[in-house]
C-alpha cells in the first residue's frame, strides 16, 4: 500500500529525529566550564578597620585562571593561578606571591567540578573521621592521617540539602582558626553556587576578623562576551 518514497521519507524523518534527540541530550549533559559574577568583599577587622572591594570575577576551567577585575576602591586585577597570585595595576604586574593549590580549592573551581559539597576534601590526604546529623544539617569531621601529622588539626564540614553549608578549621593545637558559612545558594544552568560567604578568622589573642563576600549576576558557560577576561593574558613580568 505504501510507496517506496513513503518509506524513504519515513527513514529520513527518523534519522533527523535521532539527530535532534542526540543533540538535545548532549546539550543537557554539557559540563560547566565557565563562570562569571559580580562580587563585593566587605571586611571588618578586629582593630575596627573596614574595607570594601567591588568588581567582577571570571573563571574558565580550561584556561586555569581566576581573574578578579576590581573597580573599587581602585581599578586593578588580581589573577589567581594554581601556583601564584598576581596583582596587576595599569597593565603591569606589581606583586607576585606563591599560592600553591589555591585555585584548586577556590569556590569557582570546586563548584564547577562538582566538588563543592565536600570542599574537594575527597581528593586530598584528609580522611573522613566522623559524621553526625543535627536536624537537617550533616556535619563531617576530616583529619589528616596520624601517620602524616600528629596534631589536633581538623576540619569540620557541614551540609544542608547536600550543599556545603559551613567549613570550620582548627589548628594543630585544636584552636579554632576560621569559620566559613556558605549561604543563599542559587542554581544557574544546573550549577549550584552560594551568593554569600560569611567568614570569621580568629587570631591567637582571641579577636576575630569578619568578612562577607557576595556574588550576584552569576553567569555560567557564557560565551558571548568577556573573552579577554576568560582568556586573560598576564603581562610580561
Amino acid at each position: 500500500m505504501y510507496t517506496k518514497d513513503f518509506y524513504i521519507v519515513k527513514k529520513h524523518l527518523l534519522i533527523i529525529l535521532l539527530v535532534f534527540l542526540a543533540s538535545g541530550h548532549l546539550a543537557v549533559a554539557q559540563p560547566h566550564y565557565r563562570i562569571q559574577a559580580n562580587f563585593s568583599v566587605k571586611e571588618v577587622k578586629s582593630d575596627g578597620s573596614q574595607s570594601l572591594s567591588m568588581g567582577r570575577v571570571f573563571y574558565d576551567l580550561h584556561h586555569g585562571k581566576v581573574v578578579f577585575d576590581i573597580y573599587y576602591p581602585s581599578p586593578h586585577q588580581i589573577v589567581l593561578t594554581n601556583t601564584h597570585v598576581y596583582i596587576i595595576h595599569q597593565g603591569k604586574v606589581t606583586n607576585t606571591s606563591k599560592a600553591p593549590n589555591m585555585l584548586s580549592f577556590s569556590i569557582f573551581n570546586l563548584s564547577m567540578k562538582g566538588s563543592l559539597p565536600y570542599y574537594g576534601l575527597q581528593d586530598t590526604p584528609f580522611e573522613l573521621q566522623d559524621i553526625e546529623r543535627v536536624d537537617s544539617m550533616v556535619i563531617s569531621t576530616w583529619q589528616l592521617p596520624e601517620a602524616l601529622v600528629k596534631s589536633r588539626s581538623k576540619l569540620l564540614l557541614s551540609q544542608v540539602d547536600r550543599r556545603l553549608q559551613g567549613l570550620v578549621t582548627f589548628d594543630e593545637d585544636g584552636e579554632l582558626v576560621s569559620r566559613q558559612l556558605f549561604e543563599n545558594y542559587t542554581t544557574v544552568q544546573g550549577l549550584s553556587f552560594p551568593r554569600r560567604v560569611v567568614q570569621f578568622v580568629y587570631t591567637a589573642d582571641g579577636s576575630k576578623d569578619q568578612r562577607i563576600t557576595t556574588y550576584s549576576n552569576i553567569m555560567v558557560n557564557n560565551s558571548t562576551s568577556n573573552e579577554n577576561m576568560y582568556h586573560f593574558r598576564l603581562p610580561d613580568h
Binding site: A22, Q30, K42, L52, M54, G55, E132, N217, S223, N226
Partner: protein, 148 residues
C-alpha cells in the same frame, strides 16, 4: 581517596542510627543581627558606589567595560579576543566537524552554550574534512583516468 569513597556512603547509611545533637553544630551558626550591624556602614557604602557609578548588575551583564577602560591601556592595543592557536583548539568540536559535520552542526555550531573557540574548531574540522575529501576525489579521478 578510595577509602573516602567507601567511608562516606557507609557513614551516611549509618547516619539515622547516630545520636542527634552535637556540640559541633554551634560552629555553624552565628548572630546574624550582630553581623548585619557590624557591616551596616559598609553596606551603605556599597549601595552609594552602585548609585554613583551607575554600575549595577544589569549594566555589568552585557558590557565589557573593565579591562581597557580602567587600566589605562589603549583599547586598540588590547585584542578583544586572543588569536586562535593550536592551544585554543577544542578537539572534540573539531572531531564533530571532521567526522560527522551534520550532527556536529547541531551539537556545536548552533549550540548557544558552546564557546566561540569550539565553534571555530568545528568549522576548522569541516574545512579540513572538505579539503581532504576534495584531494582524495581528485587523486582517485586522476588515478582512474591514467589506468590503461
Amino acid at each position: 581517596m578510595k577509602k573516602n569513597f567507601l567511608t562516606i556512603p557507609l557513614l551516611l547509611l549509618l547516619l539515622p542510627l547516630m545520636a542527634v545533637g552535637s556540640n559541633h553544630a554551634q560552629f555553624f551558626s552565628y548572630d546574624k543581627e550582630a553581623v548585619e550591624e557590624t557591616f551596616s556602614q559598609l553596606d551603605q557604602l556599597e549601595k552609594q558606589i552602585i548609585l554613583q557609578t551607575g554600575i549595577n548588575n544589569e549594566s555589568l551583564s552585557g558590557k565589557s567595560l573593565m579591562y581597557s577602560d580602567l587600566t589605562g591601556i589603549n583599547a586598540s592595543s588590547v585584542p578583544v579576543s586572543p588569536l586562535f592557536g593550536i592551544n585554543d583548539m577544542d578537539w572534540g568540536a573539531f572531531a564533530w566537524g571532521f567526522l560527522c559535520c551534520p550532527v556536529g552542526f547541531f551539537v556545536v555550531a548552533i549550540n548557544k552554550q558552546k564557546p566561540q573557540r569550539s565553534k571555530t574548531s568545528y568549522w576548522i574540522g569541516v574545512i579540513a574534512s572538505s579539503v581532504l575529501s576534495a584531494i582524495s576525489t581528485i587523486a582517485s579521478g586522476f588515478a582512474s583516468s591514467t589506468v590503461p
